[in-house]
Symmetry: C2
Subunit: 596 residues, 2 copies
């Protein structure tokens, strides 16, 4: 086989300059149209589409074959390039001025009847698309996404290489940390009873590279997360991972902004303004009710506690006396019916609020609201002023614990104001994250991860709930693209963080002893970041989910409909690994097995 015998030209590159030449092209039958015996075939390949004309009067030899052609046959066509007849030029097509008059056609591979049309307009069930992903990838939209992704990572790499970063591969068969649940495990055959884990990130290895003197590292790293069902996540995903020695936050931002900019340039031809705006976590929570604000629109949260400091309205005064928060947003001219407004109340309650107060600004500035009669004129004026309310605006007020008020208003704000899609790109650094967050019954966990440097170690020990760390996130249009931090670079601070987290010395040794030992040998200060590539590309491509930018994704439960994976394995394989299915699992599998 030789490409020259299959094609001498690329279909999508032909134009009026080629008129009169004989060419051979190869590709797939995208469409066929029979116009009074003359067959028009759109031949599609990676470079584009060209029209092939098969005229039975000119080429009687091709009649039988042209009748046999079906959609998605892979063919090679010899013919002459000619101008399209007047009135048939297609300005939407790069090759729309010309066509190929076929003199010879070879079917390289026929195609069985298709499970769905290869057509961006067709609306196919996603599982079926994944089952035949190789056909789905022929759709122009998916082909564009693959191309965009390749260009994006290329732009990342060349930007980083120009800045002297080394691309370094870290292992993916790593240590399993017994207490760190939700690693994927890989049983060892040569050491039965022992397991590797697949990495959730290269975090500790990249820190070891800093200890190893690398100074500027990056990697496009495959990572793994065995999570329960959660929307728009994948069991394996890809991140741009970077780390720098002698770095602080500013060096991370300075390194990443050009990388992000290069990707935006490559995919959107956009020149992003830099530096990106920065906002502290505390500000983000107060003004947007979330640590990932979408700053493409306003509708900021406004603290109304002062307005209601002396209110007689029990629902508000009670909350304020209990250290709660009364806050509101100005939803603008929503023009909702009473039923629509009640729907917002239902939504707020579904989000956990006890209730939601709505107010509509009437002509003359009076507030129409079920609670208006409980509020003084001064309070009503205060609301109007603080929320910059104008006639026709709908105001939404929540009174609850600080966290809940912010969370509910932040969610309502997004639901009411967030633009569709991602035509505009607004990046934001959110900085000064807390060291810890409280989960369950007051248990402290790391807000980022336990290798994040606290701003003040004593504060971290004495007031862990409010202590601030040197961690930061990058947010794009209300989506967290990634996070990073300055890292702890001395073993003592690291040990003190483990202690506040309630990790015993024994546990710290068994999970991280190997890493803590490394910290003892002249560890440079260092900092880094990881950007979720799947999500970043999905946003840039205006795709609703990351599966659209992953060539062979799995479903949200980690299943691959194409290969039907994961699947059963033979008992001898398990025996070699020294493992067995638990009896209940084995029984359930055997029950499932039905003859096909």
């Amino acid at each position: 086989m030789d490409e020259a015998t299959l094609r001498t030209a690329r279909a999508g590159h032909l134009g009026s300059g080629d008129i009169g030449t004989e060419v051979r092209v190869a590709g797939w039958v995208a469409t066929r149209r029979d116009h009074g015996g003359v067959l028009f075939v759109d031949l599609r390949e990676a470079s584009g589409v060209v029209q092939v004309v098969i005229n039975p009067e000119e080429q009687p030899d091709l009649v039988d074959l042209s009748h046999a052609l079906r959609d998605e046959f892979c063919i090679s066509v010899l013919g002459s390039v000619r101008e399209r007849p007047e009135g048939t030029v297609n300005p939407d097509l790069a090759t729309g001025e010309i066509e190929i008059s076929a003199t010879e056609i070879t079917v390289l591979s026929p195609a069985a009847p298709l499970p769905f049309q290869i057509d961006d307009r067709s609306d196919v069930d996603e599982v079926r698309r994944l089952e035949y992903r190789y056909l789905d990838l022929r759709r122009p939209r998916m082909a564009a996404n693959l191309l965009a992704r390749s260009r994006a990572v290329g732009a990342m790499r060349s930007t980083l290489a120009d800045e002297g970063f080394l691309e370094i591969e870290t292992p993916t068969l790593v240590k399993s940390t017994p207490e760190g649940a939700r690693d994927f495990l890989v049983p060892s055959r040569l050491r039965q009873g022992s397991f590797y884990a697949l990495p959730q990130s290269p975090q500790l290895f990249k820190q070891l590279l800093m200890i190893g003197g690398v100074e500027r590292y990056y990697q496009i790293a495959r990572c793994y997360r065995d999570e329960d069902f959660r929307s728009d996540r994948q069991v394996e995903f890809t991140q741009l991972d970077i780390e720098g020695a002698f770095w602080g936050q500013d060096q991370v931002f300075d390194a990443l902004e050009p990388v992000i900019g290069a990707v935006a340039k490559a995919l959107r031809d956009l020149d992003l303004g830099t530096p990106f705006p920065r906002m502290t976590y505390a500000d983000a929570m107060a003004r947007y009710g979330t640590d990932k604000p979408d700053i493409r629109f306003g509708m900021e949260l406004v603290d109304l506690s002062e307005v209601f400091a002396a209110t007689g309205f029990k629902a508000f005064s009670g909350v304020l006396q209990g250290d709660g928060l009364v806050a509101g947003i100005n939803g603008g001219g929503l023009g909702l019916s009473r039923a629509g407004l009640d729907g917002l109340v239902d939504r707020a309650q579904a989000l956990g609020a006890k209730g939601l107060v709505w107010m509509v600004v009437e002509d003359g500035g009076t507030l129409r609201s079920p609670v208006a009669k409980f509020l003084s004129e001064a309070e009503q004026a205060g609301i109007t002023e603080r929320l910059s309310a104008e006639v026709g605006d709908t105001l939404l007020i929540v009174a609850d614990s600080v966290a809940l008020t912010r969370a509910v208003l932040g969610a309502l704000r997004n639901e009411l104001g967030q633009p569709e899609g991602h035509d505009e790109l607004r990046f934001l650094w959110v900085t000064d994250f807390p060291v810890f967050e409280l989960v369950g019954e007051g248990r402290l966990v790391s807000a980022h991860h336990p290798f994040t440097a606290p701003v003040d170690v004593v504060e971290m020990e004495e007031r862990p709930e409010t202590a601030v760390s040197r961690a930061y996130d990058l947010v794009l249009n209300g989506t967290e693209l990634g996070s990073g931090s300055e890292r702890i670079h001395d073993p003592e601070t690291q040990a003190r963080v483990f202690k506040v987290l309630g990790i015993s010395d024994e546990e710290a040794e068994s999970r991280f002893g190997w890493f803590m030992r490394g910290l003892q040998y002249g560890t440079p200060p260092h900092a880094g970041f990881a950007v979720g590539i799947d999500r970043f590309i999905a946003i840039l491509q205006n795709e609703p989910n990351i599966r659209e930018v992953i060539p062979f994704p799995k479903t949200q439960t980690g299943f691959d409909p194409l290969t039907r994976s994961p699947g059963p394995v033979d008992d001898p394989q398990l025996e070699e690994l020294g493992i067995d299915l638990r009896p209940g699992v084995r029984a359930a599998l055997e029950d499932e097995e039905t003859p096909e």
Copy 2:
């Protein structure tokens, strides 16, 4: 933390142009020398090394601190750049004309006593190096290897991107194929009793990309192989994987040669001549006794069957009557003693030969050999002529089955002639590999893999032992760098190959049904290749094994001495996965557990 407070200049970039300026540098204490109270510190960082001078008379404040400094402390130094005193210039060091006179030193991180010296001259046990890999990576040789690897993959990527290849990520949690032993398995938690596998290569996914219309794909892909102990392999390894639609062998070679050339240019500043020479598998076996000839030296195998066609020497005539082969090599002027020659005989027998005939060409051209008396003059003249023997040469002759004669002479040839190291690079394409090889008791297995196109399907079915495929290897200095082939692109041929391999329809369906379905939808002819990156870089860096060019390698049994991985996991984790250790394994583990 801010880099500007830690360093304003890069140590290795300082030179005489900086004399008189004040700089701040940061890095590691590589060496300390006390010359009469004046301390000389070599400060090392990624950019290079600079000498720092701490003079107690000039800087009394620094005395205590300078005494506390130890090797591999991470420090930041403020000082002025000055010319070195006459006679102390170090021409071996890029910064050897200058030194920094320190005025302020900050210890960023102290270092505990080192397990070994960070020094290319020190000869440290490899397991210990791996246990403290982060220190080992500080050695200039290892730092150079990391840099070289990063540059090499960068050169690969940019060459391929310029040629319009898309970099596409294929999954690494893939289908386990029950009969395909030695996949690493990953138990699924959400589907207990089901398993993913880690891919041995992206083979089928890259073929699906061709079906998907990608046309030019590449990936630097992590692959996994659960092998028994075998020298210089890793459980996870990296390959450059490429594939092209409408391609044959020539397109693969045309695509890869510039990639290989770009790497040689980047790491060796070499301009490789292209095209690389090509040799068929049959020629390689006949001339070099191996499918991966080292063509840096001659000493080719010479078929002596004609010389001995009518010989009276039973050892040879018996072999020839039994369709065997008598062949020899001219080892040149080895100058071996009788004991040395006998050693070669022992070696040949260890390699499986029944014996080895040696002959030394004496002055006057007579052959000294234990068997000379059994050979006619014509035969002796024939040997001399065919082997171009000259006075002093040692000739080695083996008479055995064709395969064994070639294997033994090929091995002896390498042992006698192969140059040390890899100063010279000689690439070679070996083409036209057989479709199958025979293993065990005459069972056929794919020589490459079962997706390789046979040259002739009927020949493949009728004479499978000798049938030729469209497969090829790339060989560098006698090492196989990688292999590739034209692929089967129609389901019927694929089914016929499976049939010859003795794979039943049911087994083909269960293992590869998902892939065979894909072949039905207009699959373009396609071909591709995979280059083992670890080995390629190791050779270019003149390293004796691939672990030297892998940042965090495992031992040959798949163990990581740094993290002590693989390791045990908790029972609740196994329970979540629906698996358990087999009783014998669990008992053995419990026996092992000793209180520390």
